[in-house]
Symmetry: C2
Subunit: 273 residues, 2 copies
């Protein structure tokens, strides 16, 4: 019996009394996407689920883009999470963290609750040019209940043709490139347009992931997840967005990212406009 199994049994017993109080989907509460005041329904929530979640991994990805959402998804009792790659060979992130996939493009379940892509820089551009990766995303994306990403992972969704006509976000350095894939670049921490749900850069995966937990299991379940993950952020500085960073910091980082920005726009075909 794993730690997670034990937690599942304990939590099921504990949460049973709350089931009638659990609220329905609350994605509308993500900043910038408020539902009307009456948008939250009090209804029962399935504390145990059977979601099939596939998280793409590839060489050069940014591992925090993956692990932020994974931290929240792993609280979904009964859900099955696969880390999916072209083979079961180890995959090394841009900062040198090596993960072992749990499924391949072939063995990954065909009908997914969530299809997810993390971002990165050069590794993401390479993956977005890889026909096998794009074929996998297009195939699973054709049937997945939710098609999602964090950071420049949305470039992969776009390159696979999954964002045409959808509002979507990305890391600030490549958000505008999404237009080249027919998406509508949108500046928000988490952007939902129908079943496409995309997060902003890197650490936005925590907000994205917690929003998905609420979407799938309701607000009380999500709040339990937030407390267990002690997600009570207190950044020591306020430089986390282009709006709040000082001009010096902003200028330096925009310039530092400029090569990637150009490459992302070229990938999306924007250089031809």
């Amino acid at each position: 019996m794993t730690d997670m199994d034990r937690r599942t049994i304990t939590l099921l017993a504990l949460l049973a009394p709350f089931t009638p109080l659990a609220s329905g989907p609350v994605m509308g509460q993500v900043p910038g996407h408020k539902l009307p005041d009456n948008g939250e329904e009090m209804s029962s929530v399935p504390w145990m689920g059977d979601e099939q979640i596939a998280m793409l991994i590839y060489p050069g990805m940014t591992v925090m883009d993956l692990i932020g959402p994974h931290c929240m998804f792993s609280a979904l009792m009964g859900a099955k999470i696969d880390l999916v790659a072209s083979s079961l060979d180890p995959v090394t992130s841009d900062a040198g963290v090596t993960l072992i996939p749990t499924a391949t493009f072939q063995s990954c379940p065909r009908d997914l609750t969530i299809l997810f892509t993390p971002g990165g820089t050069d590794g993401t551009l390479a993956a977005a040019s890889d026909s096998e990766t794009l074929a996998f995303l297009a195939d699973r994306g054709a049937r997945a209940k939710y098609i999602t990403s964090v950071c420049s992972g949305s470039l992969l969704l776009g390159a696979a043709g999954l964002l045409k006509g959808y509002r979507a976000t990305s890391h600030w350095s490549c958000r505008d490139a999404l237009a080249g894939f027919g998406a509508i670049p949108t500046d928000a921490r988490v952007v939902r347009d129908r079943n496409r749900i995309t997060g902003a850069g890197v650490t936005a995966g925590l907000d994205f992931g917690l929003s998905m937990v609420a979407e799938l299991r309701g607000r009380i379940y999500a709040e339990c997840t937030q407390l267990m993950g002690e997600y009570d952020p207190q950044p020591p500085f306020n430089a986390g967005s282009l709006r709040t960073a000082s001009a010096d910091v902003r200028t330096a980082m925009v310039e530092m990212a400029a090569d990637f920005t150009r490459k992302a726009e070229a990938l999306a075909g924007l250089q031809r406009n």
Copy 2:
């Protein structure tokens, strides 16, 4: 040339003009640890460093405890980060993410800038009872410049005898257990007492990690790191601490964690008081 090498070269060129503006250590700006107004010195900062960072990994750890800090540490240009385990065999987290270590207890550098331990539940208790793990921590901790942890990783530091007489924090479920190791349990997101720097539960690793970047390279460098990681958190709910969660959520999660809380206190010898 790796992505990180390229970023290093680009950033060095870009940031050179800022060097005279960079501030000194700013750990005092972590909430709850304010330095006096005059505590921040304007001085030059080494944009390129040579830190040796060892991050312990072990079966059953919570991978987000590791990757939050790693996300920030990996922005330290020139730093060497090792994921250290008893052998080079793959290590699987409590939620099923498998990582490959980069160093063993034997091959890990002997003189470290940062010694770091992530937390978990049963896996952490097992590691905190493993003599080889404790000997490694005690040895490297005897010389490390900073001795650090996130979440219940502080139990490992405590069990290795590294927190005696120091203020420290942990996940809320096992913070009080630290007293059994002679530490002074302290309720804050990031707690610094001399060279012991500990973070609260799971996601506190981002705040901890960013604080460490500021400590090592100054505030401007840390703000650049924050912008590149788009660390502008917008949690959709406000249930991330025992102070802010609703009574129902708090009660359920405290009860869910009770078995772990008891085991952690037993590990620390508190049951014998």
